[in-house]
Symmetry: C2
Subunit: 240 residues, 2 copies
């Protein structure tokens, strides 16, 4: 049985202008790998309605789980929730459960419930809330789309919640071997190995360590015996 | 006149598994912003033929310039050049000019011209080479697609070469203002400002500085007088 698949959409002009360096993709990628879920694609798009609606429609139809990051805050350019509702033809407005969460939080802190802040209670009718233990304003899951905040601390907490509820797959096993020869000399034997083990992913990562040009070879797969066998063959070829 | 548009494709299983943290997107985003080219979308995809061919076809038809990063090294999973050739229906093989570059480099260093290394001379017939001052193996431009290496030092050098040859636009002007009030209280006035200046992009970035919750507001646009006027209005609203 093959593993569940996933895709990610990072939403924000500030990433595409270079002002902000995204860290959520790398965090999610590592977590999905640990849970045996294959991340197939990630897209960074702008705070633009058409871009968000079409990316959500396209990717949610091609993977088991789509994760989004960004655009659910209090300001005018936070339009992700409305766009996701539109992509699924669902109605969206301020929802009682989300409003209660926010009002409880605001009242306990003497914070004013501005119109902007209350926008964070806009949740599609059929969605299930995702808890935000950091700053209360929830994310939500609608069908196979998990809509989460862009602020890394909040995003990471929401990922933990979502991953505790969805079924993972066989974790990807990984072994690596350091070869003190440049990638161009390792490439030939690696191709033969890759042909012999079509179910494994064999990656090579060149390095320059104090003038020594070498290659870290990483063998990944879901079948431990195959990974072991390929690693033995690799070490025979490059004993180092 | 509106600015040229761009998209980026980052190719590599190692980014999607979380093993490697991409830095090329942020570098390219900043450089494009400086050159007045609007980066509309970035995609991270795996070393998979169908994924690469379809992303190249899709994005190259929607923007003025498409930049790719990764998958042009010597190993079996470096398939970007062949996939880009296929996307444009162009013939690809080891090309004389690229082979001469590589052989000169290998001979001068006593490096063996392995089959893997010579794969780096595979260039589509109609492409123009992009110089690689770091490790010689060239990138290439075919139609509006610039195919570059994933190794950051090489990628960055290739971006500099490409950007020196293509026409930029009006650089995006940017001014920022620090407001010591949380985003939820800034959101209302910002929406009014955004409605008044539809050609400007007004972004807000919450911060927590030693217990002070505040918001950095960034106003961006191509018209300096408009950016100035909006910034004056913002500072009147939030004098701080």
């Amino acid at each position: 049985m093959s593993n569940p698949t996933a895709a990610m959409i990072v939403i924000g002009d500030e990433i595409l202008s270079g002002r902000t360096r995204d860290s959520n993709l790398n965090f999610l990628a590592k977590e999905l790998t640990r849970h045996g879920i294959d991340l197939r694609e990630a897209r960074v798009i702008s705070d633009d309605k058409d871009a968000i609606v079409s990316a959500v429609k396209d990717l949610s139809g091609r993977v088991d789980h789509l994760f989004t990051s960004g655009g659910i805050g209090p300001t005018h350019d936070d339009i992700t929730a409305d766009c996701v509702a539109e992509a699924f033809g669902d109605h969206i407005d301020i929802r009682d459960d989300a409003r209660d969460l926010l009002m409880g939080y605001f009242n306990s802190r003497g914070v004013e419930a501005t119109e902007g802040r209350m926008r964070m209670a806009r949740i599609p009718d059929s969605a299930e809330l995702i808890e935000n233990p950091v700053s209360i304003a929830p994310g939500f899951t609608i069908q196979n789309v998990h809509v989460m905040a862009g602020v890394p601390a909040v995003f990471e907490a929401m990922v933990a919640t979502v991953l505790s509820k969805i079924e993972g797959g066989t974790p990807l096993l990984s072994q690596s071997h350091r070869v003190e020869r440049p990638e161009g000399e390792v490439a030939g034997p690696l191709r033969i190995l890759a042909d012999k083990y079509p179910d494994l992913s064999i990656g090579s990562y060149p390095f320059n360590d104090k003038g020594v040009f070498g290659t870290n070879v990483v063998i990944r797969g879901h079948d431990g015996a195959q990974v072991d066998a390929a690693m033995v063959a690799l070490c025979q070829e490059f004993p180092d």
